[in-house]
């Protein structure tokens, strides 16, 4: 069994070989510090500027609105803490959702210790917020709305445009964690009225440990790291040049033919979901059937537990993930699955399959062949199912 089928692209993606090639010079012969005056320095500065231009173009942002960071978590931390502490004289209320990534949720929890009040909007059973809830939650002292573009577990896409309009009308900053969305759905920060946006290179075939915070010009935000004047004084430290170059290249490639890519993925995704439900009894699709990331499948198989499914799939060369308590490290089931109203024991049997444009029909056929007997065998072992 040498077959490898990688269905965990929401966790991270394979580095595109073209991206790697673009990075190599900056790990080898072009080793200058971008802040240096000499030719090696200038060459590196140019490389960063090119990447900044590539990112700006992909988001329809301005060159000087792009700030490189150490990844998605850092961008989320910076956006939320940076806006909160810079604007606390105006108010200390922040609105977010209860399905955000922990990089947002734990940052908000941290702010609560400093007297900020956070409203965690619930989501409907399809994983999408009710825009009326958002309107009702807005107060005089609301300074920031942070709602993720697309969810990393169930793939649901939030009504970002409507949120952006409401935020602009009320004069509240709007941040979105677009880590899962970039390169998979077209994003225009101007059209969507986004003030701050987080992204991370390794989710669109770029390198790990490098990301971006888009900060619309005029947004009042604190600096992330104090030190040398890098990133216009807002995020000091000698730049991760190779990483930044790779991010630039990756975002350009990823946003180039989103339409074609997503059409392919949506077809593959929907067919696979249909077949899973057909072939495996007591299967539930989590999240919205349509308003979801093109490559995201998230299902629950009743009566069984996710880690066991993953181990069995692993044996067959399939890499996937689960929101089961047993796989979570914290031993709590996924907060996202609980937020959409699943009981603990059903959340336990969740399986997330995240496809990429490299995923083929054949891969899905193979999955559909091996998965039903795995579920059946685990159910035979389950005390929750009677007479089977």
């Amino acid at each position: 069994m040498n077959r490898i089928i990688y269905l965990d692209n929401a966790a991270t993606t394979r580095l595109n070989p073209k991206v790697l090639d673009s990075m190599l010079p900056y790990l080898k012969e072009s080793y200058g510090n971008p802040s240096s005056i000499h030719f090696l320095g200038r060459e590196n500065k140019k490389a960063i500027d090119k990447a900044r231009e590539q990112v700006a173009k992909s988001l329809n942002a301005q060159f000087n609105e792009i700030f490189f960071t150490g990844g998605g978590s850092e961008s989320d931390n910076w956006a939320i803490k940076g806006v909160a502490f810079a604007n606390e004289s105006k108010g200390k209320h922040i609105i977010t959702t209860n399905i955000e990534h922990h990089a947002v949720l734990h940052t908000c929890k941290y702010l609560e210790k400093y007297g900020f009040e956070i409203t965690y909007l619930p989501v409907k059973s399809n994983g999408i917020i009710d825009i009326e809830d958002l309107k009702k939650a807005i107060r005089e002292d609301t300074i920031l709305i942070s709602v993720m573009f697309a969810n990393n577990e169930i793939g649901t896409i939030q009504p970002i445009k409507e949120i952006g309009e409401i935020a602009r009308e009320k004069g509240i900053y709007f941040h979105t964690d677009a880590v899962q969305a970039i390169g998979h759905i077209p994003i225009d920060v101007k059209e969507l009225n986004i003030d701050l946006l987080s992204l991370s290179a390794h989710k669109f075939n770029g390198p790990k440990g490098v990301g971006v915070l888009y900060i619309k010009s005029g947004v009042n935000i604190l600096s992330m790291i104090h030190g040398g004047g890098q990133e216009r004084g807002k995020r000091a430290g000698t730049e991760n040049v190779a990483g930044i170059v790779g991010l630039g290249e990756a975002i350009e490639i990823a946003t180039k033919d989103i339409e074609k890519k997503s059409k392919y993925l949506i077809t593959l995704r929907d067919r696979t979901i249909k077949e899973l439900i057909n072939r495996i009894p007591d299967t539930i699709l989590n999240g919205d059937p349509k308003k979801r990331l093109p490559g995201n499948i998230n299902v629950c198989f009743k009566y069984i537990e996710g880690e066991s499914i993953l181990l069995m799939l692993d044996m067959k060369g399939l890499a996937a993930s689960s929101g089961s308590a047993c796989t979570s490290g914290s031993l709590k089931p996924s907060h996202v699955l609980l937020a959409i109203g699943l009981p603990h024991e059903i959340a336990h049997g969740s399986l997330r399959l995240t496809l990429s444009e490299e995923t083929t029909d054949k891969d899905m056929e193979y999955l559909l062949e091996v998965l039903p007997p795995i579920v059946e065998n685990l159910r035979k072992m389950s005390p929750l199912i009677k007479n089977k």
């Binding site: 181990l311 308590a325 047993c326 796989t327 024991e345 336990h348 072992m381």
Partner: protein, 127 residues
């Protein structure tokens, strides 16, 4: 993630004594308060000795492997001997568990205890 030992994987992929005993003399069912998993043990007991045992588990790889291992460990033992088996013994017999998975082995120990409790309640001859 930390890897499971070869023995854990063996017991996970080829669990011993899975299933139900319809006319069991004792049944023990326990839930894991940590992660919400469930384990059920069915025992046949003759002359104070566990002659047959089967389990059902709703849980992770470690939970399945510890259930399987504990059934092998207690089969043919007297109730007193079975009660002496601790979760640590079970984990050791599997060549260890990742630290975060140690709690799963509690389930195996408590399921056996629960089953024997059940048996003693039903057959309290000392009265």
């Amino acid at each position: 993630m930390e890897e499971y030992s070869k023995k854990v994987m063996d017991h996970f992929f080829n669990p011993r004594n899975v299933g139900v005993i319809e006319d069991a003399d004792a049944i023990g069912e326990v839930g894991n308060p940590v992660c919400g998993d469930i384990m059920k043990m069915y025992l046949k007991i003759k002359d104070n000795v566990i002659t047959e045992i089967k389990f059902q588990t709703f849980g992770c790889g470690a939970a399945v492997a510890t259930s399987s291992m504990v059934t092998e460990m207690v089969k043919g033992k007297t109730l007193e001997q079975a009660l002496e088996i601790t979760n640590k013994n079970v984990a050791e017999a599997l060549d260890g568990l990742p630290p975060i998975k140690m709690h799963c082995s509690n389930l195996a120990e408590s399921a056996i205890k629960a089953a024997i409790d059940d048996y003693r309640k039903k057959n309290d001859h000392r009265k």
